[in-house]
């Protein structure tokens, strides 16, 4: 009897403690600080479009940073509806030359070989939308294009040769002639604006060859001032968020091949290369040990394995009718001054300085114009520089600026991967939260797909990217 009594007491104690319930601690509460955001429009270039791995395709567009931001806005009480994009079915847009899908994929583990698979391209699949797209990012767009009302059919022809204006800016007569007009027609409460990258990227990715200089700073200043001023005048009450321009030297397109070549060079042998504007005998040589070594572009991936071997593949691939004066392709390629590493595949120190100065000048312009127009600046340049210097970690994932293994960039070494897009979206969200007093939850990048191909860091192989694969990239910032 006594035992039963104590048993009951013990049981009561057990239930009392066992019944303890956990209650949520105070923490971030999603919200827009009372603001009403009913429409969000994104303006930009390939980075905004969700272009990835050298192509535009729906399964990557789903992870464009604007689409991710739109999703997070909804979580914070924004009522932006369904965010519409100019989707292009997988495997995506065609290469202008081959007519096959330009998207890079892993073709073989041996190498590994990365490049287009020769697949039949996809097609536009969201073409009946009776209004402009919410994502007006056009691959290849430069700052000039924002207000330009040229017919998109003209831009598909040389010199722009860019058919993607027609994909994004449909039905100009009804929906608006320019990016600006179509954006304003949507009456957005929030606009993100990220243009200007291609005004310096085209110069840099072509090794300073095509175009031979970035957009001049006075012209960029005039165009940017006019763009944001016009946008602000048309949308006096909208939140406008602009992103600045990352230093091209922070992306793996420029940082992947050089270190591999440096590791392969025989002791005491230097890479012989052409400096800016030179098509003849090498006027530069490097062991990559100097403070500011030349950067070898990823477009050189199919030529790097030929180093030290006699041959003139570069000249055959590019249809030279005759070898330039002084060139002798019986000499070892890249190691002899008479068969040098081509100017188009290297960003030499002077070219890096040119690109760097333009980025710095453009970003100063962007900061000033933004301040004058009550626009918030997202410092993507600062973020990418930090990424390159020390990486970026979140939820146990470590991102770096390394090609493929870094996780941030897609196979083309320029455009973010799915997870990289999430990281970029979070930079926009962070700027909006701190400037507008909002509390938008960040994208959980761990929930986004990662690139499927790891490259072992120590591997003594070059990523093999077939010649001509970069045709699409060249189109993106081709001659204007």
């Amino acid at each position: 009897m006594k035992l039963t009594k104590y048993g009951i007491v013990a049981l009561a104690i057990a239930l009392l403690y066992g019944g303890c319930k956990i209650t949520a601690p105070s923490g971030p509460v999603a919200g827009l600080g009372g603001a009403t955001i009913g429409k969000y429009v994104a303006v930009g270039n390939s980075l905004t479009a969700g272009y990835q791995s050298n192509g535009l395709f729906a399964s990557a567009q789903a992870y464009s940073y604007p689409n991710l931001i739109a999703g997070q806005l909804s979580l914070a009480g924004g009522n932006v509806g369904s965010f519409q994009q100019p989707l292009y079915s997988d495997p995506g847009t065609p290469d202008a030359v081959t007519g096959k899908a330009s998207r890079y994929e892993l073709i073989s583990w041996v190498g590994p070989v990365i490049g287009p698979r020769g697949l039949t391209p996809g097609a536009p699949i969201n073409t009946t939308l009776p209004r402009p797209y919410d994502n007006l990012g056009i691959p290849g767009a430069v700052i000039f294009d924002f207000l330009d009302s040229t017919n998109v059919g003209i831009k598909a022809l040389p010199p722009r040769s860019n058919p993607l204006f027609a994909l994004v800016l449909r039905n100009q007569a009804a929906l608006g002639n320019s990016i600006f007009q179509q954006a304003v027609a949507l009456k957005p409460d929030l606009v993100t604006f990220w243009l200007g990258n291609n005004d310096v990227l085209g110069f840099a990715t072509s090794g300073g060859v095509s175009p031979s200089a970035p957009t001049s700073t006075p012209i960029f200043t005039a165009l940017y001032t006019q763009a944001i001023g016009t946008l602000r005048a048309a949308l006096p009450n909208a939140k406008i968020v602009v992103a600045n321009i990352p230093d091209v030297r922070a992306i793996p397109f420029f940082n992947t091949l050089g270190p591999k070549i440096a590791a392969e060079l025989p002791a005491g042998v230097a890479l012989q290369y052409q400096k800016h504007g030179n098509s003849g005998v090498a006027d530069g040589s490097t062991n990559f040990t100097e403070a500011n070594p030349p950067l070898i572009t990823l477009t050189g991936a199919s030529y790097a394995p030929l180093l030290g071997h006699p041959g003139g593949k570069w000249y055959r691939d590019h249809g030279y009718p005759a070898l330039p004066p002084g060139i002798d392709t019986t000499k070892p390629f890249g190691l002899h001054p008479q068969n040098p590493w081509p100017d188009a595949l290297v960003l030499d120190a002077a070219e890096q300085a040119t690109a760097g100065a333009s980025v710095q000048a453009f970003n100063t312009v962007i900061a000033g114009v933004a301040a004058a127009n009550k626009a918030v600046v997202v410092d993507i340049n600062g973020f990418f520089n930090r990424l390159k210097a020390s990486g970026y970690s979140t939820s146990g994932i470590v991102f770096t600026a390394d090609y493929i293994s870094g996780g941030t960039f897609s196979f083309d070494g320029v455009h973010p991967s799915d997870q990289g897009s999430g990281v970029v979206a979070n930079q926009f969200i962070a700027a909006m939260n701190s400037s507008f007093g909002w509390s938008i939850p960040f994208v959980d990048v761990s929930a986004l797909p990662a690139l499927m191909v790891p490259l072992s860091k120590g591997a003594k192989v070059y990523p093999v990217i077939p010649e001509g694969s970069f045709g699409e990239l060249e189109m993106l910032w081709g001659t204007r």
Binding site: K2, A10, I22, P25, S395, G407, I429, F442
Partner: protein, 401 residues
Amino acid sequence: MTRVRQFGEALLLTLIVASVALAGGFQLNEHGANAMSQGGAFAARASDGSAIYFNPAGLGFQTNGSIYIGATGIVPTISFYGPLQDNTNAETNMNSQFFTPINGYITYPVTDRIHVGVGVYNAYGLGTEWPDNWSGKNLITKVDLKTYWFTPTVAYRLMDNLSIGAGVSYVSGTLLLKKAAPFDTRVTLDMTARGWGFDGGIDYKATPELTVGLSYRSKVKVDASGSAGFVPAIPVLPVGGVTATITLPATGYAGVAYKFCDALSLEADYQYIGWSSYDNLTFTFTKDGSSTSAPKNYSDTYILRVGGEYLLGSLKLRGGYYYDHTPVSDPYVDPLLPDANRHGLSAGIGLNLTDHLSVDAGYLFIKFLDRTVTNTIPATSFDGTYKSYANLFSLDLGYSL
């Protein structure tokens, strides 16, 4: 002859229990229902078979051989709110789990002064399991560490009021670890480990009422090896052999027990745990010699314990409390082991069923103090609040020869 058979049956029972057991919580201090009921303050009295764990010298004062065998059921509840890296307070609950660390001790007085015994128990173990697709999946989705300690022990009563004891432990364990890995793969590390350790203790009855006990258990370096599997299998990932060395920390007790009257005894213990030996967790992959290392940088820490027993007729009523100071500083808190300072409150009963057979039952409630971390190391980058508690139930049967 009878005794031999009894020992054989007990050993068999021990092995059966052991084969179905799991361990939980990285260090386990629940090694007998009697001790657990009294807040684990038991190093001075060490008056049953669990002396093999708490203080081997305690055997020297035990006059009869005994079998003491049982298990503890652990039901942890852990909720995470965050991560703050995602500017969210979202709740994630750890999957429901149930762990049953075991204990089994057989002791026998060889002479009037020499008492020998052997114990099997789980001194260290860890079990956390989170949803497969939670936001911390790149840190951990499942970890299960079990260690079995087999400890032959001998105690020698030097004087009527002074006993010393020592033991050697063979430690055998398994480690299973699952998480998301780069390139959308999932990695599973499945390893076995073994190592050796030793322990020793002194028990001194200063007066008939006052007993002082000291014990020490060495750190144990366990060498683990096993296999790493990746799904999907990607050729360049280090699939195949994997090795690790984990140091299970040293621990020591200093206890003082006082017998106020025949019916009431109380004890207070200070327990030291040398967690600073756990400075990193490194796995080395055989395939390419690469390794992955997570800094842990735990600190040495302590647990303060008080407990007592009151005789009410034939019923022993027990209660206790302890405060367990976390060895983990904020930057190193991660969902693998979301540790925090803990309060433990325990109660239990003991009853002699026959002249030889007794039963002990105990209950322990552990409240982890809410822990909000905002400065986890870059490799973790997973800030937020952990709220945890655990219910433990313990049952032991004793057979006195």
